[in-house]
C-alpha cells in the first residue's frame, strides 16, 4: 500500500459539500440514454425462446419454420456456441465456471429453470420475432424438479447434475448431490463455549428468494463487422467484465469487442452478469446487422439472477452477565441452476459484528431449479443477519438487557479476531451503536400494537481493478475519464469532487465521463461498495500524477528547480518565497502553453485498490401491527452507518435510504412464488410487491465517519451495508409490538395472522 494514499486529516473545500450531479439535468429531462434508448440504422429486434419447464432434458430443437418466416434474419441455439470445459476464471466476479456461464446463457443438454434460454431469433420487427419464437419446436423430456433449498439437500431429491459431488466434504462422497459445496469456519471450541453458557437460544429461519428489482429491464444492442469486430452498447455494472465474458463464450479476442456502457437504470448486483449480450453479438454476426435485445419484465423475473432463498439455523450461548460464550450457525442457500451462491460471504459476516472466542459456521451451496443467483447488495449478508440479529435480540430479552447494551457488551472493535481470518482494522461499529442509542428515535414513546426493533449489519467492502485518467484541457478545465460505471450512486460527481479537491480548483471546472472499454485496461464491476472507494483512489493517484507533471512543466517554463515549485489552490507557486521566486501560474496559464512546451498535461492511474474498509450499520425501526389483517406498518426508521467519509453527503444519504427500503421490501412483501410445476407465478410488479411511497415514512439517516486509514479521504464505501439490518430490525420490532417471533421471510400478512392465531390458540 503506497503510504501516500493513507488517510490524511486536512481541511477540505470541496469534499463534503453538495454540488449538483453532472448527469442530473439529462436524467430529469429524459435526455439520458439507457440501454433501450439506443437505436442503430438497420437494426433487428432479438427475442429469446425460454423453457416453460423447471427441469427437462432437451431432446431436439427444430428451428426450420422460424428461419423460413419472412423477416427472420438469424436464429441461434446451443449449436452456435462452443461448449466450455470446467474452467474457473477470475473475470471479475465470485468464481466463474465458464462451463456454467455458457449453459446459463443458452441451455445445452438440459433446461434447468422456467425461463432458461433455449434459442434466440433476430427479425425485422418485434412482432415478427415474437411470432418466430412460436414456430420453434423444442422436444422436452420433463424431469422432476426441486426448488426449496431444504428439499434439494435431501438424499432423495431430484438431481440437477448427476456428476456433482459435494466439495469440501471428507471423505469424498460416493453419491452425487445438489449440494455443490460445503464450507466450514471454526474458531475456538463451541462445545466448551455452549457448556459454559447459562442461557442458550436456538432458532431456525427461512427466507424466500427476492429480486434486486431494478426498474430498467436488461437492454443491449450489438453491431458486428465483416472483419470480426463487435460493438456492444449495454446497461451494465461492469463493461469490462461483460467484454471479458462475451469474448470467452464467443471465442473472440478481447480487443475485438468494444463495450460502451449506457446509463443504467438500477443494478444492485443484478447487472454484473451477461444475459442477452453474447446472444445479440452472435445474432448480429449471423444476420450481418445490428441486433437490439430488450427484456420484458416477465423475462427479468424468470431468467435473470435474483438472490438465494435460504435456510439458516442459529444457536447462541451466553452467561447471565451478557457475555456471549459460543455462536454456531448453518446456512444453506439456493445457488440456482449452477453453483455459486453467496453462502461464503454470508457465512463470513454472520457473526463478525461480535467479539467471540468460540464460533462454528457451516455454509451449504445448493443447486435448485431456478435461475442462477446473482449478487444483491451485500450478497447473502441480509439473510444471515436476519437470523443472527433475531437471535441476538431474543437473547438480550432473555437476559433482561437492552438490545443495544447487549450488542455493545460483545461488540467487535479494532483488533477483534474474526472467525474467518484476519483481525479487524479500524472500524466504527461501536460508534454506530452509541449514535443509535443516543438518537431521539430510540427513546420516543410507543402506542398499542407498536414496537421497536434494533439490528446491525456488517459488510467487508472491496477495492479491485480500477483506472482513471485526467486531462487538462486548453482552457484549464479538466476532463476525468473513469473506468468504473456510475450505477446510480452519483460516484461520477464524487470523482469530480475529489479531483477538484486535489487540484485545488472549483468542482464545475472538472467534467467526469465514464469511458468505454477501449479507453482502459480491465476494470472490475461497480459493486462491493467500491466505486467511490476505489474509483476515488484511482482519481487521486491520477490527479497527483498530473500535479507532478504540472510542477515539472512550470519548473521548465519558469526555469527554476523542481523543488522550488509548490502546487496549491489550483496554481503553481514558489515553494519558498525567500529563495527562488517566480510569477505563479494557474492551471489555465499552464494549459495555454502546454502544447508548445512538450504536449498536453495528463495524469493516469491503473490500480488494484486494496485496503477497503469494512462498514457497519445500526438500524432502529418502529412498527405497528394491525391485528385484524396482519399488516405491518413502518412508523419510523433510522439508519446509522459508518461510511468512513461522506464525499457528497446527499448521495450517501440516498444510498442509506434506498438500501434500507430494499431491506424493508425484502422483510415485508417480496418473494418468488412457485407453482407445483416449478413455474414462477408472479413475474411482474403487481404480484411481486415492492415498497411504494405510501408504504413508508421518511428514513432518517445518521452518517458516522470513522475514516478508513487506507484511503486518502477516508472513504469506506456505503452502498451495501444499509440493506443488511432491516429484516431483523423489523422482526425484532414485531416481537416487541405483539410478542410473536417471525422466523419466515417475508413477514407478509398471512404469515403474521397465522402467528398471531397460534399465540391466541395458546401455542408458543
Amino acid at each position: 500500500m503506497a503510504d501516500g494514499l493513507k488517510y490524511q486529516q486536512r481541511e477540505l473545500k470541496v469534499v463534503g459539500t453538495r454540488p449538483l450531479r453532472p448527469d442530473g439535468v439529462d436524467k430529469v429531462t429524459g435526455r439520458a440514454r439507457y440501454g433501450a434508448d439506443i437505436n442503430l440504422p438497420g437494426q433487428l429486434i432479438g427475442k429469446v425462446l425460454r423453457s416453460p419447464h423447471a427441469h427437462a432434458r432437451i431432446l431436439s430443437i427444430d428451428i426450420s419454420l422460424a428461419l423460413a418466416l419472412p423477416g427472420v434474419k438469424a436464429v441461434v441455439t446451443r449449436d452456435d456456441f462452443a461448449d466450455m470445459p470446467e474452467e474457473y476464471a477470475a473475470s471479475g466476479e465470485l468464481t466463474i465456471n465458464f462451463r456454467d456461464v455458457t449453459r446459463n446463457m443458452m441451455a445445452r443438454e438440459k433446461v434447468l429453470y422456467d425461463g432458461h434460454p433455449v434459442a434466440a431469433v433476430a427479425a425485422t420487427s418485434e412482432a415478427i420475432a415474437r411470432h418466430a419464437l412460436t414456430l420453434i419446436r423444442v422436444d422436452y423430456e420433463i424431469l422432476p424438479h426441486v426448488i426449496d433449498v431444504v428439499a434439494a439437500m435431501q438424499p432423495d431429491a431430484p438431481l440437477l447434475n448427476e456428476e456433482q459431488y459435494t466439495e469440501g466434504v471428507k471423505p469424498k462422497p460416493t453419491r452425487p448431490s445438489n449440494i455443490a459445496k460445503r464450507l466450514e469456519f471454526k474458531l475456538g471450541d463451541v462445545a466448551a463455549g455452549f457448556g459454559e453458557a447459562e442461557v442458550i437460544v436456538e432458532r431456525e429461519f427461512n427466507t424466500k428468494p427476492v429480486h434486486q428489482g431494478y426498474i430498467e429491464p436488461q437492454a443491449c444492442i450489438a453491431s458486428t463487422t465483416e472483419d470480426g469486430q463487435a460493438e456492444l452498447w449495454t446497461s451494465t455494472q461492469g463493461h469490462y467484465v461483460f467484454r471479458s465474458q462475451c469474448a470467452k463464450v464467443l471465442q473472440m479476442d478481447v480487443s475485438k469487442i468494444r463495450v460502451t456502457p449506457t446509463e443504467i437504470g438500477g443494478g444492485f448486483g443484478g447487472k454484473n452478469n451477461i444475459y442477452n449480450e453474447p446472444l445479440a453479438i452472435a445474432l448480429s454476426k449471423k444476420s450481418h446487422r445490428p441486433v437490439k435485445m430488450v427484456m420484458i419484465r416477465e423475462e427479468v423475473f424468470r431468467a435473470t439472477g435474483p438472490t438465494s432463498g435460504g435456510n439458516v439455523k442459529v444457536k447462541l450461548g451466553a452467561t447471565r452477565d451478557g457475555r456471549i460464550t459460543a455462536a454456531a450457525a448453518e446456512l444453506s442457500f439456493q445457488a440456482g441452476a449452477f453453483p455459486g451462491s453467496s453462502v461464503a460471504p454470508a457465512s463470513m459476516c454472520a457473526f463478525t459484528r461480535y467479539d467471540l472466542a468460540n464460533v462454528h459456521v457451516i455454509g451449504n451451496d445448493v443447486i435448485v431449479n431456478r435461475p442462477k443467483v446473482a449478487a444483491y447488495r451485500a450478497p447473502g449478508a441480509p439473510i444471515a443477519a436476519f437470523a443472527v440479529e433475531s437471535v441476538i435480540d431474543e437473547m438480550a430479552k432473555k437476559l433482561g438487557m437492552d438490545p443495544i447494551a447487549f450488542r455493545l457488551k460483545n461488540a467487535a472493535r479494532e483488533g477483534t479476531q474474526t472467525y474467518y481470518g484476519p483481525k479487524l482494522g479500524k472500524i466504527g461499529y461501536v460508534e454506530t451503536l452509541e449514535a443509535a442509542r443516543a438518537h431521539p428515535h430510540y427513546s420516543a414513546p410507543l402506542g398499542p400494537n407498536q414496537g421497536r426493533g434494533v439490528a446491525t449489519g456488517f459488510w467487508f467492502n472491496v477495492g479491485g481493478e480500477t483506472s482513471a485518467a485526467l486531462n487538462v484541457n486548453e482552457d484549464g478545465t479538466v476532463t476525468v475519464m473513469l473506468g468504473t460505471i456510475d450505477v446510480a450512486g452519483g460516484h461520477r460527481a464524487s470523482m469530480a469532487m475529489m479531483v477538484a479537491e486535489e487540484l485545488g480548483i472549483a468542482v464545475d471546472r472538472v467534467r467526469p465521463q465514464v469511458a468505454d472499454t477501449s479507453v482502459f485496461g480491465f476494470n472490475f464491476v461497480t459493486a462491493g461498495s467500491r466505486a467511490t472507494f476505489a474509483g476515488g483512489m484511482a482519481c487521486v493517484v491520477a490527479a497527483r500524477a498530473a500535479i507532478e507533471e504540472l510542477r515539472r512543466r512550470v519548473a521548465k517554463i519558469r526555469e527554476v528547480p523542481l523543488e522550488a515549485v509548490l502546487w496549491t489552490d489550483g496554481q503553481a507557486e514558489p515553494a519558498d518565497r525567500a529563495a527562488q521566486s517566480f510569477a505563479p501560474m494557474s492551471l489555465a496559464d499552464i494549459a495555454k502553453l502546454a502544447g508548445r512546451t512538450g504536449g498536453a498535461i495528463a495524469g493516469h492511474a491503473e490500480i488494484n485498490a486494496q485496503g477497503a474498509g469494512p462498514g457497519f450499520g445500526t438500524h432502529i425501526v418502529d412498527v405497528e401491527v394491525d391485528r385484524p389483517t396482519g399488516a405491518i406498518k413502518i412508523l419510523r426508521y433510522t439508519v446509522v452507518q459508518d461510511v468512513g467519509r461522506a464525499i457528497h453527503p446527499a448521495y450517501v444519504e440516498g444510498q442509506l435510504q434506498g438500501g434500507a427500503v430494499q431491506g424493508i421490501g425484502w422483510a415485508l412483501n417480496e418473494e418468488y412464488v412457485y407453482g407445483a410445476d416449478g413455474v414462477l407465478q408472479n413475474p411482474g410488479f403487481l404480484d411481486y410487491r415492492m415498497p411504494v411511497a405510501s408504504d413508508l415514512p421518511f428514513i432518517d439517516t445518521v452518517i458516522v465517519e470513522v475514516p478508513n486509514p487506507n484511503h486518502p479521504y477516508g472513504v469506506r464505501g456505503c452502498g451495501e451495508v444499509p440493506i443488511i439490518a432491516p429484516m431483523a430490525a423489523i422482526a425484532n420490532a414485531v416481537e416487541n409490538a405483539v410478542g410473536i417471533r417471525l422466523c419466515e421471510q417475508p413477514m407478509s400478512p398471512p404469515r403474521v395472522l397465522k402467528a398471531l392465531g397460534a399465540v391466541r390458540a395458546g401455542k408458543s
Binding site: G24, K27, R31, A36, Q657, L686, V692, A693
Partner: protein, 158 residues
C-alpha cells in the same frame, strides 16, 4: 396487416405516425417518434415509468393503444422544461438529490406535476399516495417526497 395512420399533438407539436393495432402508445412514443424519455419498466401498468399525460389525464402509456391517441394531446417528459428553463419540479429534484439511476424519474416527474395540478398544497401523505403508482428502487422515496413538497411550496409562491 395495414397500419393505422394517426394524428395527434405531442408536447404542443402536431405529429402523425403509423402504428399496428396492438402497438401501445409507449411503443409509438419510443419507437416511432423516437421520444425515449418515457421508459418501459414493466409493460403492464404496475410501475409508472411510462407515465404521460393524455388530454390532461395521467395515464400509463403502456396501457393505452397508439390508435387511441388519435386527435388527442400528449405531454411527455421532453415537454416539461420550457425553452431553456427547467420546470420547478425538475430543479427541485436536482437540488434535493431526488434521483439516483434516474430511470423512474421521468414518470415520477410527470406524475408529480399532475398531482400538484390537482392539489397545489398536498400533505406528505397525499404526496406519497399520489406517487404510489410510481416505483422507485434506488431512493426509498425520501428525497423525492421532499423535492415534491418543496416544489409545491415554491409553486404556491412560498
Amino acid at each position: 396487416m395495414a397500419r393505422h395512420h394517426v394524428t395527434a399533438t405531442v408536447n404542443g407539436d402536431a405529429v402523425e405516425f403509423l402504428c399496428e393495432t396492438e402497438e401501445t402508445l409507449l411503443e409509438v412514443l419510443r419507437d416511432e417518434l423516437r421520444l425515449t424519455g418515457t421508459k418501459e419498466g414493466c409493460g403492464t401498468g404496475d410501475c409508472g415509468a411510462c407515465s404521460v399525460m393524455l388530454d390532461g389525464r395521467l395515464v400509463c402509456s403502456c396501457l393505452v393503444l397508439g390508435v387511441e391517441a388519435e386527435g388527442r394531446a400528449i405531454e411527455t417528459i421532453e415537454g416539461m422544461a420550457v425553452g431553456g428553463d427547467l420546470h420547478v419540479l425538475q430543479r427541485k429534484f436536482l437540488e434535493h438529490a431526488a434521483l439516483q439511476c434516474g430511470i423512474c424519474t421521468p414518470g415520477i416527474l410527470i406524475a408529480a406535476k399532475s398531482l400538484l395540478a390537482h392539489n397545489p398544497n398536498p400533505t406528505e401523505s397525499e404526496v406519497r399516495y399520489g406517487l404510489a403508482g410510481n416505483l422507485c428502487r434506488c431512493t426509498g422515496y425520501h428525497k423525492i417526497v421532499e423535492a415534491v413538497l418543496d416544489a409545491a411550496r415554491e409553486m404556491r409562491g412560498g
